[in-house]
Symmetry: D2
Subunit: 339 residues, 4 copies
């Protein structure tokens, strides 16, 4: 049996549980040996369910354990950067959920700490590890689609988050579209230089009342000339809609939604099939396993993780660019935000 | 047998032939009794093939025939308005290919003539008569999709027109996107008030050298809050790509491409099916029949045609708005073009 | 304008009207100049609707018109063979709806008359002219699918015919499966030598009470080793189900159902699309045009029609073989019926 | 943490590894604490890879360990019955791969031993645990499809097994179709009373030379009147083809193949998507987890497993019935084999 990486989890919420389970049950090369959460009961519950030996309230105490080689940061967004810096100081490799922070200076500070500590960092853009998106990325990279001309991303959630969350989320562009911004860069392999964002409050006026929007159509100008369009909604009644399409000089590749089964039912009303898988935990089950597997492999084989700190930072810049574009109703260049 | 409408065709080119054939063979309520073309040989060829009794070089001579009740204008775009005015003056009902003219004042003058003559006018936005688009339009109108939130239109040609045509076409927004502008209004049942158009020359630099673009992504702001996005390309190697999608509060309807057959072929390389039908003549075969059938029915039953002069005018305004938006790289309101 | 073939229609019922309309409106190389029906009012109605100049009660009188070059026989099945012999005697080319007759000796007598008169005969197996089935046939013939191993045909009607029709239909195998027997020979390009037919009365006991069945599963043994299976039902609540699949050593081709539109609708209940086109008139609209176009072309170009008298005879033999197999519950060789 | 069931694996081959991995990594309620294989090196390899503490050459030695509560029998088919009896004698719950044995008396003897020992037995018909087949089964059981009329199963392997395996497999009906026989009973919820099997050697003459066939079309007569058809091939060049269709009085449900991704690629040659998942390990990954999860749950909750000894026995009877039918070319009733 090969060497196993000992991992500590920071944050025992929904996504912390997903990662802990995957590390415990799906990735033989990893051991989860500790979990920390400021709500220590949550940490204890997770530890009991997965037979994790050590529980901490304070992540710093966990970082003091020299057996831990890597941490997976799943705590609330406003703590990511600090935990990252603490982990870097302790010499631990880091997997961090997106976004690193909502403040660019804070991100830069944290990335510098990671850099100086020479530990590995992977940012949690899980969708890149979906086999369909990966294949389209490969088709662009290998030239199978020719030069990319048009990118289309549809990303719609099955239902809006609670209003309490909306208030602190940073807004739709930083909370939701950020995944699509990452996907756009990933698929096309070129940077976006200008963004035009249109938005509306159409799903729920309450979302508007806290200063956010729930529906958006965004135009992307890539440096290589490709034009992109993203559409977002906080509520698709038919479920989590996650489609992409790359149109190039030699062909077009699109990714259709995944469904829980392959049943096609015909009756007097028509032909029916299943709705898309409900939400990110169901849709990206295997992608979550795969991103964690690659993180562990990168540690074992001393390779650079596939989603770097820079990859974590740029979508935040894009989010602010989109915000400014929406606020001022004009196309905005990324270097207006991040000169 | 019910009364038949005697029709004269103006313009014996490709689309003139399509309409003449449909009137002759598919619509029992119509007789094609004359054809006029400044290239009289073209008119003669069409007349021979379809056994049309009378041929004219000059459309005015044809209009003098009192037996003719309706004309179908398929001559070159720059003649549409004049022929329309002449036909109105002669008291003939009018079917006119889009666009009525590229000049708004010219359009207004022609529409006034039609109005004063109290003849019927139908403008040739054929795609409205496709059963799939029609059904989506109905789903919006009846509320089956709930309030519309997002509209997506993909419209890509299989290959660019000749450069000589590009030069006089009025540009991609007035020549190609104009159909999508009409489709947008038709599907959503609301007017567009602002447009942002991004464009690139990615297919062929020659198109750029004559001042046009070949790739575009356009954002539409509707008065009812719906957001729309259109993407256009002058060349999809896999054929004519004509898809729309309306996303609303109660569901989503999309129209997939039509194919020449329903064969699905599986082999060692994968699962394969046919490309979309080649181009507009093949894709909209039945829509062309249907639009003409409705035009003839409107005459027989004295009803207002389903695509009016106003419907012919607004997409031209939208085309100019998109042009200005692209030129100035900013969202432009339609009332900047047409106050 | 090329020479036109003058055609007379025998039988002004549903299928007679389909052929007459296609000849009148879709096939410029044909003129329908006469129609005969023992119910002369039916003939008169059709003549009025399509402006057919001559109406007859007696088909023999029509055959006396020397202007008529070809007849299309759409009268009731029990008259097909006699009309065919009369037409052959009059030197007319013949298109005859299937089946030629339910009695093999009667078929042979009629085919001999046609042969002796050296007129052309095409039998109305319209499905061969569907572009999808045609393409699969081509894929077998060219070897694209390799050696054929398994054939699957699903053929289900949207609703049973009236009981009065069931009684005189010759039974499901001769009335309904006969089309699938023809399709099987056509697709595989090899003869069937043995048949095993299983059947049930599951749709409506009344069908059983008149000695017929409404559900069948049939196994075909081809001389080239291919195995085939056909399943039939008199009632599919979701509409006319017409699928075939050929599985060979190099791949598999299947034909999916055709739908009236390409709309895909997603809502809280799932993803929905249209039922198949209702019934044969809708499903095979273009195939009916195409078979008639080929018949007329074969006359114009003096070629052998693509569905011969032998092609009309063998499926009748197969029908009797299936009947015997079902009655005796054992596989039956075709040469037990037709030695 | 709930109680965990200690499991021993008998047979460390391909399917033994699948079950061991699932029990170790996917089912938290189970511990794999031992593995036995006559090829002890195989057992050792599996033990090392999955950190299984105990390794045995002789399964009986493993059964002596009182800590083991359940065994999973994945050894060669000819040993299943003996291991099952030994396990029953030792009071262990049993999961046994199909078939229990190829000899009916041997099966009966083993089932009696299980019965007398009052241990639980689940037979490894994994396909029942696929969510799509399960849903179709539910649609039949709840009446959503109405009375079932026609069942169609297509089951084709991507490539034939080695000839050495073919020789001892019991023939295609007992080795391959056995899964489809189980699926047929499962989906329809009624027993088959008569079978007609047609077969050919079309894939590889070597298969014929050892007395087997590689292509089959089978007709099933159910006691409730439903008619079924199964088609099998040992080699589909496009991969593992696993489709079913139930047609009933209220509608039809079919299960399409599963693919490794949802990419649709359009280029100048057509529209392309992925082949089906390669073979049973890939296609039924989740079904294998699910069947084992249910087995463990049935022990924990003292319930009858969902696939019983009788369910394991009947498909063997069906296999012999099909063999006899093929050999004698006539429909054979199951009670000719098992009166």
């Amino acid at each position: 049996m090969a060497r196993k990486i000992n991992v500590g989890i920071v944050g025992a919420g929904r996504i912390g549980r997903v990662h802990a389970q995957n590390l415990a049950f799906r990735i033989p090369e990893a051991n989860v040996i500790a979990v920390a959460d400021v709500v220590v009961e949550a940490a204890e519950r997770l530890a009991t369910d997965l037979q994790i030996p050590a529980v901490y309230k304070d992540h710093q105490a966990m970082l003091d354990d020299p057996q831990i080689e890597a941490v997976v940061i799943c705590s609330s967004t406003d703590t990511h950067a600090q935990v990252m810096e603490d982990a870097a100081a302790a010499g631990k490799h880091i997997f961090c959920e997106k976004p690193i922070a909502l403040d660019l200076a804070r991100i830069d500070h944290a990335l510098e700490a990671v850099n100086n500590a020479r530990v590995k960092l992977q940012v949690g853009f899980n969708r890149r590890f979906d086999p369909s998106f990966k294949r389209v990325r490969d088709m662009v990279a290998t030239g199978e689609l020719g030069a990319p001309h048009i990118l289309r991303i549809t990303s719609r959630d099955p239902q809006p988050p609670p209003l309490s969350y909306v208030k602190v989320s940073g807004g739709i562009f930083l909370d939701m579209t950020i995944h699509d911004f990452d996907m756009a860069r990933y698929l096309i392999g070129s940077e976006v230089e200008e963004i035009y964002a249109a938005g509306s409050v159409l799903v729920d006026p309450a979302i508007g009342s806290v200063g956010d929007i729930d529906t958006a159509v965004i135009t992307l100008h890539f440096t290589n000339g490709t034009l992109g369009t993203i559409d977002n909604s906080r509520q698709a009644v038919y479920g989590y809609d996650q489609r992409v399409e790359v149109f190039g000089s030699k062909g077009m590749a699109l990714v259709a939604n995944k469904t829980p089964d392959e049943v096609v039912h015909s009756d007097a009303d028509g032909v029916h099939s299943a709705r898309p898988l409900y939400f990110f935990v169901e849709r990206y089950t295997e992608a979550y396993v795969e991103e964690m597997r690659e993180f562990i492999q990168c540690i074992l084989e001393d390779k650079t993780p596939p989603v770097t700190g820079v990859d974590g930072r740029i979508p935040v810049v894009m989010g602010y660019t989109a915000q400014k574009s929406y606020a001022e109703n004009r196309p905005v260049r990324l270097n207006e935000i991040d000169a």
